[in-house]
C-alpha cells in the first residue's frame, strides 16, 4: 500500500502543463523578460549607431531603446489577448 501510494505521488507534480491559476503569472514573467531583452537590444543598437553614425549623440540610443521596448510590448499584448479565448483544457471532447 505504501508502494502504491508512493508511486503515484511522483507523477502528480510531474505535470508539464502549468496549473490554470498560474497561467497569467507566467505570461507576466515572459512579458517582463522579453521587454528587458528587446529594450536592451534596441538600446545597444542605438548606442552603436550613435557612436558610428551620429557622433555619440543621445537620441539614436534612445530610439533604439524605444524600438526594443515597443516590440516587447506588442508581443506581450498579443499574448494576453490570445490567451483570453476560453481554452478547451479540462473538458472531455467527444469525437463523433
Amino acid at each position: 500500500m505504501a508502494d502504491n501510494s508512493s508511486n503515484p505521488v511522483a507523477p502528480i507534480p510531474k505535470t508539464t502543463r502549468p496549473m490554470s491559476e498560474a497561467l497569467l503569472n507566467e505570461k507576466w514573467d515572459r512579458c517582463l523578460s522579453s521587454m528587458l531583452i528587446r529594450s536592451g537590444l534596441g538600446l545597444s543598437f542605438g548606442i552603436v549607431f550613435s557612436v558610428l553614425l551620429f557622433k555619440r549623440r543621445a537620441w539614436p540610443a534612445m530610439v533604439g531603446l524605444g524600438f526594443g521596448a515597443g516590440r516587447a510590448w506588442e508581443e506581450c499584448d498579443n499574448s494576453f489577448k490570445r490567451a483570453a479565448a476560453p481554452s478547451k483544457d479540462g473538458l472531455r471532447v467527444i469525437r463523433p
Binding site: P8, V9, P11, S20, E21, D77, F80, K81, A84
Partner: protein
C-alpha cells in the same frame, strides 16, 4: 381257335409239350409214311401191272388185262365212280389212286370232257379249300366247323394261324407248328385222328349215312350212288393204313354186295356158275384189287354162257392160290403190324421214359428252384424283418427320447411357472408389507427433503447477505481510503476489489465505468485539499477580476493594480460579479457543498473561468467518484433488501 389261344396263354405246359409232341408226330408220321408207301408202291405197277404181279402171276397176265378193257364199257358208271373218286382222293387216300388209273384208261373217248371236269373240280376244290381256310381264320364258328369236318382243314388253318402268330411274335420261332393238335387236346384228338376205336363208330355211321358225313364222300354219291360203298372202303383204309378191326368189317360189306350181284345172275346160269372169290381177309387194297379182278373175270366168265366150265379148274386153282397169297400177305402184314406195333410200343415206352425223365428233371429243377426261392424268400424275409425291427427300434427310441424331452420340457415349464407364481406372490406380500412402512418412510424422506430445501434456501439467503456485506465493506473501504489520504493517491486496487466482490453486477460495473479513468489513476483530492487549492485559485481570479474582454497588457496591468485595492466580500454575497461568486463559493465549500461550489465557480466568465478551470475539473472528478460510490452503496443495500 379258342382252345389254341388258351393253350398259347398257358406257358406252364410249353416245356412239357415238346416231350409229348414227338409221340403224336410219330403216329402221324407213321400214318403219312404208310400213305406214301402205298402211293409209291402203287404207281410203280400203276396201270395194270401191279394187280397182275401179285395175284395172276400164275394165271394169264395178258388175257386178264385184255379182258377187262373190253367189258368195262358197260360198267362205265361203276368205273366212272371209281374214276371220280381219285379226283377227290388224291389228298385223301392211296387206295383209289391205284384204282384210278384203271378206269382212266377206259373212258379215254370222254377224256376231254372229263379232264375239263377234273380240272374245274380241282380248281373249285382248291378255291373252296382256300376260301374255307381264309374264312375259318376270320370266323370262329366256321373255324370250328372247318377244322372238325374238313380233312386237313385243321392242319391248314393251324399252319396259317401259326404263320400269323409268328409274324406277330417273331421271338417265339421255336413254337410248335401244329400246337392245337399237340397240346392238351391229345386225349381228344388222337383217338379222333387215330381212328383205332372211334373210327369204328364212324365207320358205322358212314355205312348208314354215307353221303352226309364226309366231304370226300359227297362227290361219290353225286356221280355213282351205287358204288358209294366201294369208295368208302377205299377211302377208309386209305385214311387209316393199319387198322385191323375195321378191315374185316369193311371187307364183309364189300364182299357181300359182290356176292349179291352175282346172285341174281346165278338163276340164269344153272350149274356152270362159278363162285365169286371170297377172301376172308381182303383188307389189303392190293388184294382187293386182285380179288376184284378175279371176280370180274369170274363174272365175265359167268356172263359168258359159252364158257361151259372150261375155266372152272383154272379159276379154282387161281382162287386157292389167291387165297394163299392173300393169307400170306395177311400174315406178312400181321407180322409187319406186329413189328410196327412193337416198334411203336418201344418208341412209346421210350418216349414215355423220356417224357418221365423230362418231367422228373423238370420237377427236380422246379423243386430246386422252389427250394432256392424258398431260401431266398426266407433270407429276404429275415433281412426285411430285421431291418424293420431295427427301424422300429430306432423309431421307438426316437419317440421315447422325444417323449422324455417333452416331459422334461413340460416339467421345466411347470417349474418356471411355479417359480413365477411364487415370485409374484412373494412380491405381492412384500409389497403389501412394504406399503405400510414405506409410506411412513416416504413421509420422513419428504420431510427431510423439505428441510434440505429450506436449508439450501437459507444458505442462499446467507450467501447473498454475505455478498452484500462484502460489497458494502468494499465501498466503505474505498470511501475511507479516499477520505484518509494526505495527498491524492490512485485507488485502482480498491476499485478492482469492489468490482470482484460485486461479481460483475451490471449496476456496479456501470457505476465504475462512469468514473473518469484519470480519477482512479491519479487519485482525487479530499475536501481539505480542495478548499486549500480554492483559496489559491481565488487570489489569482481576483487579480484578473477586472479585466475586460480582449484585454491587453495595459488592462492587465490596470486590473492587477486595481484588484489590490478592491474590498473583499464575505458570506453569501449577492451579485454576479467575480468577488461575490468567490465569496459564495468559499462559503459553500466551507459548508461542504462541493456540488454547489462547483456550480458557482462554473458561472464565471473570461479570464476568471480560465484560471479556475483546473480546480473545477478536479471538483467534477471528485463528484463523479462520490456519485459512483453512492450508487454502489445503494445497490448493495438494495440487494440486501431483495434477499428477503
Amino acid at each position: 381257335m379258342l382252345r389254341a389261344s388258351l393253350l398259347r396263354a398257358r406257358p406252364a405246359l410249353r416245356p412239357i409239350a415238346p416231350a409229348v409232341r414227338p409221340q403224336w408226330r410219330v403216329a402221324q408220321r407213321f400214318y403219312a409214311d404208310d400213305k406214301k408207301l402205298s402211293e409209291t408202291v402203287i404207281p410203280n405197277p400203276a396201270p395194270s401191272v401191279t394187280p397182275s404181279n401179285p395175284s395172276p402171276a400164275g394165271t394169264n397176265a395178258i388175257p386178264s388185262s385184255d379182258v377187262p378193257r373190253t367189258p368195262p364199257t358197260p360198267q362205265t358208271t361203276g368205273r366212272s365212280a371209281a374214276v371220280d373218286q381219285p379226283a377227290t382222293t388224291p389228298p385223301t387216300g392211296p387206295g383209289t389212286a391205284s384204282v384210278a388209273p384203271d378206269p382212266k384208261a377206259a373212258p379215254k373217248p370222254k377224256k376231254r370232257r372229263f379232264r375239263r371236269f377234273l380240272f374245274y373240280m380241282t380248281l373249285l376244290s382248291a378255291l373252296g379249300y382256300a376260301g374255307g381256310v381264309w374264312y375259318s381264320l376270320v370266323s370262329d364258328n366256321f373255324h370250328d366247323f372247318f377244322t372238325e369236318y374238313i380233312p386237313f382243314g385243321e392242319d391248314a388253318v393251324g399252319y396259317f394261324e401259326e404263320r400269323e402268330f409268328r409274324k406277330r411274335f417273331p421271338g417265339r420261332a421255336g413254337q410248335p407248328r401244329l400246337h392245337p393238335q399237340v397240346r392238351g387236346e391229345n386225349k381228344v384228338t388222337i383217338p379222333g385222328k387215330h381212328g383205332l376205336t372211334s373210327r369204328v363208330a364212324e365207320g358205322g355211321d358212314f355205312a348208314s349215312k354215307g353221303p352226309h358225313v364226309s366231304a370226300v364222300a359227297d362227290n361219290t354219291p353225286a356221280k355213282s350212288p351205287t358204288t358209294s360203298a366201294q369208295p368208302k372202303v377205299s377211302s377208309q383204309p386209305s385214311a387209316k393204313a393199319a387198322p385191323k378191326v375195321p378191315e374185316p368189317q369193311k371187307a364183309e360189306p364189300k364182299v357181300e354186295p359182290k356176292k349179291e350181284t352175282p346172285a341174281p345172275a346165278t338163276p340164269t346160269n344153272a350149274t356152270s356158275h362159278l363162285d365169286h372169290l371170297a377172301v376172308p381177309a381182303a383188307g389189303e387194297p392190293v388184294v382187293q384189287d386182285v380179288v376184284k379182278i378175279v371176280n370180274d373175270i369170274i363174272t365175265a366168265i359167268n356172263a359168258d354162257p359159252s364158257h361151259g366150265g372150261k375155266y372152272t379148274s383154272a379159276l379154282d386153282k387161281a382162287k386157292s392160290e389167291l387165297g394163299k397169297v392173300v393169307s400170306d400177305i395177311n400174315m406178312l402184314k400181321d407180322n409187319l403190324n406186329k413189328s410196327a406195333e412193337e416198334k411203336v410200343r418201344s418208341v412209346h415206352t421210350e418216349f414215355d421214359t423220356a417224357a418221365k425223365e423230362l418231367v422228373r428233371r423238370l420237377e427236380n429243377e422246379m423243386q430246386n428252384q422252389e427250394t432256392h426261392w424258398k431260401e431266398e424268400y426266407e433270407n429276404e424275409r429275415e433281412r426285411l424283418s430285421s431291418s424293420y425291427r431295427e427301424k422300429l427300434q430306432a423309431e421307438l427310441d426316437a419317440a421315447k427320447k422325444v417323449y422324455e424331452q417333452r416331459l422334461k420340457n413340460e416339467l421345466l415349464e411347470q417349474s418356471i411357472k411355479l417359480q413365477k407364481s411364487f415370485a409374484s406372490s412373494v412380491r405381492e406380500r412384500v409389497e403389501a408389507e412394504r406399503d405400510g412402512r414405506l409410506g411412513k418412510l416416504n413421509e420422513l424422506s419428504s420431510s427431510v427433503h423439505e428441510l434440505e430445501k429450506l436449508t439450501s434456501e437459507w444458505n442462499t439467503v446467507v450467501d447473498a447477505n454475505l455478498k452484500t456485506q462484502h460489497l458494502v465493506v468494499a465501498v466503505e473501504a474505498v470511501r475511507s481510503a479516499l477520505d484518509n489520504q494526505v495527498i491524492p493517491k490512485p485507488f485502482i486496487t480498491e476499485l478492482a476489489a469492489l468490482k470482484e466482490i460485486a461479481n460483475d453486477d451490471p449496476v456496479v460495473s456501470a457505476a465504475i465505468a462512469s468514473i473518469n479513468p484519470a480519477a482512479y489513476q491519479r487519485g482525487i483530492p479530499n475536501a481539505a485539499q480542495l478548499i486549500d487549492r480554492f483559496r489559491r485559485v481565488a487570489s489569482e481570479v481576483r487579480k484578473a477580476s477586472l479585466l475586460p474582454e480582449d484585454a491587453g497588457v495595459a488592462s492587465h496591468l490596470a486590473s492587477l493594480a486595481m484588484s489590490k485595492v478592491l474590498f473583499k466580500k464575505s458570506g453569501l454575497a449577492v451579485g454576479g460579479d467575480v468577488e461575490a461568486v468567490l465569496a459564495r463559493t468559499e462559503i459553500l465549500l466551507e459548508e461542504g457543498d462541493l456540488d454547489g461550489a462547483a456550480r458557482e465557480m462554473n458561472g464565471l466568465q473570461g479570464w476568471a473561468k480560465v484560471l479556475s478551470k483546473d480546480w473545477l475539473g478536479e471538483c467534477r472528478r471528485v463528484l463523479e467518484v462520490r456519485q459512483a460510490l453512492d450508487v454502489i452503496a445503494t445497490e448493495a443495500r438494495l440487494q440486501s433488501l431483495l434477499v428477503d
